[in-house]
Amino acid sequence: MTQFSKTATSATVIAAGQAQTGARMIPALVAVAFGIFLFVGTGFAAPSMVHNATHDTRHALGLPCH
């Protein structure tokens, strides 16, 4: 393998690695956002119906309630 193709190969590997990182980041961030949405929606949402339905769970998990 020539010096050039070696460099090209390692560049390809790095580029592929970066692409993988990008491909990993976006769904991971969306998953975190989805999780926070569920957590805050269940534990903090203000409407009294939501509060009353989730009341015992909010208290049990030590979240500010009432």
């Binding site: 769904p27 961030l29 975190v32 929606g41 269940t42 339905a53 015992d56 998990l61 030590g62 309630c65």
Partner: protein, 249 residues
């Protein structure tokens, strides 16, 4: 990958909801019901607060205003508001709320683990779960103790803001302490983690509650155990499921 995370989160959430509901049924639920009996009995005490005797001298008794003050801001239910009726309906909604919490926490943990990189399995999952419990359970409880219904407390919005900010600061602090390479950044993490407690949580208007003090202590321990279970079990189950599902994919 996203599909694997979401599938794992829902699977783990289901296990967590079953375990959490079972543990709550014998720990936090009986204490909540017991506290509500004091809370519901309070209006009679409050109504008796300021009054006039036949002598015409208006005065208030010492004990009653304290109880009334404690009761008034803490918990008010409007009779017209919908709420699940006690028994199966209430338990079913609590199970549903536990399920949403379990799925949410599992998704947060798997997402963060994916961002960080490295292997995801039950062993790494439980470590992230315990860190999550520190950030979103143990550390905020130092300023805002898990409370029973009828506990006097500051305005809800102020407490919610302090709670969420403390969780964010604790999570950033823990991440810096664990992952940062430079000592300076680790120290910065410690400072960020301590900062919300230096600022201080919103202060309750009174320290009087209608229920016996021992109940509050029991509830605090029970609540921390339930919260630890939520985070640790979510980490274990979500990590295990993610590893299984991504292997077969």
């Amino acid at each position: 990958m996203f599909k694997t995370i979401i599938l794992s989160a829902f699977g783990a959430g289901l296990v967590v909801a079953v375990a959490l509901s079972a543990v709550q049924a014998v720990t936090t639920e009986p204490l909540l019901f017991h506290a509500e009996t004091f809370e519901n009995a309070e209006p009679a005490v409050a109504a008796a607060a300021p009054h006039e005797h036949a002598t015409g001298e208006a005065h208030t008794h010492d004990a009653a205003p304290a109880a009334a003050e404690a009761a008034a801001p803490a918990h008010e239910h409007d009779a017209d508001e919908w709420g699940p009726s006690d028994g199966f309906e209430r338990s079913a909604y609590t199970f549903l709320a536990n399920l949403l919490m379990g799925v949410g926490v599992s998704a947060i943990l798997l997402g963060l683990m994916s961002i960080r990189g490295g292997s995801i399995n039950a062993r790494t999952g439980v470590l992230w779960g315990v860190a999550g419990f520190f950030a979103a359970g143990l550390l905020p409880s130092l300023g805002l103790t898990p409370e029973l219904p009828g506990t006097p407390a500051a305005a809800l919005e102020a407490r919610q803001i302090w709670w969420l900010s403390t969780v964010a600061a604790s999570a950033i602090g823990i991440a810096l302490i664990v992952f940062a390479e430079s000592v300076l950044l680790k120290i910065a993490g410690l400072v960020i983690g301590v900062l919300p407690h230096v600022i201080g949580a919103p202060v309750p208007p009174s320290l009087e509650a209608a229920y016996p003090a021992v109940m509050a202590a029991e509830f605090t321990s029970a609540s921390l155990v339930v919260t630890a279970l939520l985070w640790a079990l979510s980490g274990i189950c979500a990590g295990w499921l993610y590893q299984r599902l991504s292997r077969s994919a």
